[in-house]
């Protein structure tokens, strides 16, 4: 069987599949649904310094090819996360990325300080792209990206992935700022800002009105951002996230240059999918004469491959 294991940050991952921040929560509920040891990594839902109750209902509405969400970074705050959730998360048989967000570099430094003694975290994902909180999207401004990333890199001894928006318009500039400030890699992309209006009442569906679009509708956008970033930054680690719902979408993301592939919306629709994706990827590689997944990573930049 073809080898789907990958090595990133000098660590081995069981497969390129990463449970994206958000839909998988802290991974504890998913333990019942699938064999986590077959999945590359879990990204724990974004943690903030103080607890956040999240946004009022409605938080979720269907779209023609996906869903619009407005969770609003609901989380118990870093202290409860570290004391109560982490011991259980650390026992899960899966690599762990922890997503963090803050409203200022100082707040971020304090948050990271509280995580300093916590074991079992393989990388920090700096969420600069949540569309569902007040104060704007930090990832829209490359200067802010640089400032937050610098503090994050200094505040943790772990590799830092910076999660950027897919709809900012200056994504290469923002990615460059993150990498120049010491980020080990990029997570591309977050949900795209979108709106749905209830036709029966003429009002936005979501309490916060604008939400984040996820699901198969955003796959082409995510692919474009990853493809452009890989071309611009050949050596950066890229976690390609957005709209992947089957092995076909995952292959495209790998071909575009992603080292790891995030699954978000599709975990909500089918919690077993992350496990099956690894198995189906291995079968596809076998069928097409590849020995391991790294042979196809970024292959779209190398002229692709002939039909095998």
């Amino acid at each position: 069987m073809a080898d789907v294991r990958v090595e990133v940050f000098n660590r081995g991952f069981a497969s390129p599949v990463v449970l994206a921040s958000g839909p998988a929560g802290f991974g504890l509920e998913l333990e019942r649904e699938l064999d986590l040891s077959s999945v590359g990594a879990l990204t724990a839902k974004t943690i903030t310094l103080e607890p956040r109750p999240g946004n009022p209902q409605p938080r979720l509405v269907d779209c023609p090819c996906g869903a619009l969400n407005s969770i609003g970074l609901e989380n118990p705050g870093v202290d409860r996360f570290a004391d109560e959730a982490m011991p259980r998360i650390a026992a899960l048989p899966i690599r762990l990325f922890v997503s963090v967000a803050a409203t200022s570099p100082d707040e971020l430094a304090t948050l990271l300080d509280r995580l300093r003694g916590v074991q079992a975290i393989d990388a920090i994902e700096l969420n600069l792209s949540c569309p569902n909180v007040n104060g704007g999207v930090i990832g829209d401004d490359p200067r802010e990206v640089r400032a937050f990333t610098r503090v994050c890199v200094q505040g943790t001894g772990r590799p830092v992935l910076v999660k950027l928006p897919g709809d900012a318009g200056n994504h290469i500039e923002a990615a460059e700022a993150a990498l120049a400030a010491g980020a080990a890699g990029l997570t591309l992309i977050n949900t795209l800002r979108g709106l749905r209006i209830d036709r029966a009442h003429g009002r936005p569906f979501l309490y916060r009105e604008i939400g984040g679009l996820s699901g198969p509708a955003i796959l082409p956008v995510a692919l474009a951002r990853v493809y452009e970033a890989r071309r611009a930054f050949p050596d950066a680690v890229i976690v390609g996230t957005g709209g992947i719902c089957d092995v076909g979408g995952m292959l495209e993301m790998l071909f575009a240059g992603a080292n790891l592939v995030g699954i978000g919306f599709a975990v909500m629709a089918d919690p077993e999918l992350p496990q099956r994706l690894g198995e189906e990827l291995s079968a596809w590689l076998d069928e097409h004469g590849f020995d391991n997944v790294t042979q196809v990573t970024g292959i779209a930049h190398r002229g692709g491959f002939d039909v095998r």
Binding site: G22, P23, A24, G25, G27, L28, E29, L30, R32, E33, K45, P53, G54, P56, Q57, P58, R59, L60, V61, D62, C63, C65, G66, A67, N69, I71, E74, G215, P216, A217, C245, F265, V267, M268, A269, D270, P271, E272
Partner: protein, 256 residues
């Protein structure tokens, strides 16, 4: 301390959950807006506790699954009561026998695990919110004092033979008003239906004990991970899909 959620999880951790590709065995349009749909499959459980729900998604449909309360279970499968709107519902109604559905569950806490079992209840349902209450009455008849199943029009009366339906427009009385006529001190209330109905009941019975409401929210994952259905309660955020759908009224000050 073991929470209700954890205790019920432990009870179902033995593989009694299912993820299954199934088809519609029987589809009965019982009114202009509602249909009864019987799903069949080799791995379906023959027992689902009242209050729990299943998630349905048409295979290959690029959307999130939809939650449906269970009307009843039998050796033939799981019967649902489906309102004819929304994507999954359209597929259930328009081409039910040709569509393969992904079905998973059961999820949510059984009503019986969250209520005072030493009390008798007035069951108050509105529209498709009647479904889990009818299921509850079937499983726990000794806990049911009265039932009020309200629908806008009387054509849902064919829902179940022998189940009395309140046609709100024809009788010019709402389910909440009829419940007030039937309720007396000592009885509890178990309600499921549209939020305006729940608000009316909440305002009227907020000082009474043993009042419970079953909440609806757009559910994402169904397993308590995504927090799409999280609501505010007196004990902090709670998930409708995992900690509910039933909550004691006193936990929900925003409803009163």
């Amino acid at each position: 301390m073991t929470t209700t959620t954890e205790a019920n999880d432990a009870a179902t951790r033995d593989g009694s959950r299912f993820f299954w590709h199934g088809t519609v065995l029987r589809h009965r349009q019982v009114s202009e807006r509602y249909a009864r749909v019987l799903l069949e499959g080799p791995k379906l459980p023959t027992h689902i506790a009242a209050g729990q729900f299943v998630l349905l998604r048409a295979q290959e449909d690029p959307c999130l699954p939809r939650a449906f309360s269970v009307l009843t279970t039998s050796i033939y499968g799981i019967e649902l009561f489906v309102k004819s709107e929304g994507r999954v519902r359209e597929k259930l109604s328009a081409s039910p026998f040709e569509t393969v559905f992904e079905v998973r569950g059961p999820y949510g806490q059984p009503y019986i695990s969250k209520i005072n079992p030493r009390c008798q209840y007035v069951l108050v349902g509105g529209g498709s919110g009647c479904t889990p209450l009818i299921h509850f009455a079937e499983q726990h008849p000794d806990l049911v004092a009265e039932t009020v199943y309200g629908f806008r029009t009387g054509d849902a009366g064919r829902l179940l033979p022998g189940v009395p339906i309140l046609a709100e427009s024809e009788e010019d009385v709402t389910a909440a008003e009829r419940a007030a006529e039937l309720w007396k001190p000592g009885l509890g209330i178990l309600a499921c239906g549209p939020e305006p109905m729940l608000r009316l009941l909440a305002q009227r019975y907020r000082r009474q004990p043993d009042v419970y409401v079953s909440l609806e929210a757009r559910i994402g994952c169904g397993i308590g991970a995504c927090l799409g259905c999280s609501i505010s309660t007196t004990s902090g955020p709670q998930r409708v899909c995992r900690d509910g759908p039933l909550f004691a009224l006193e936990e929900l000050p925003w409803l009163m």
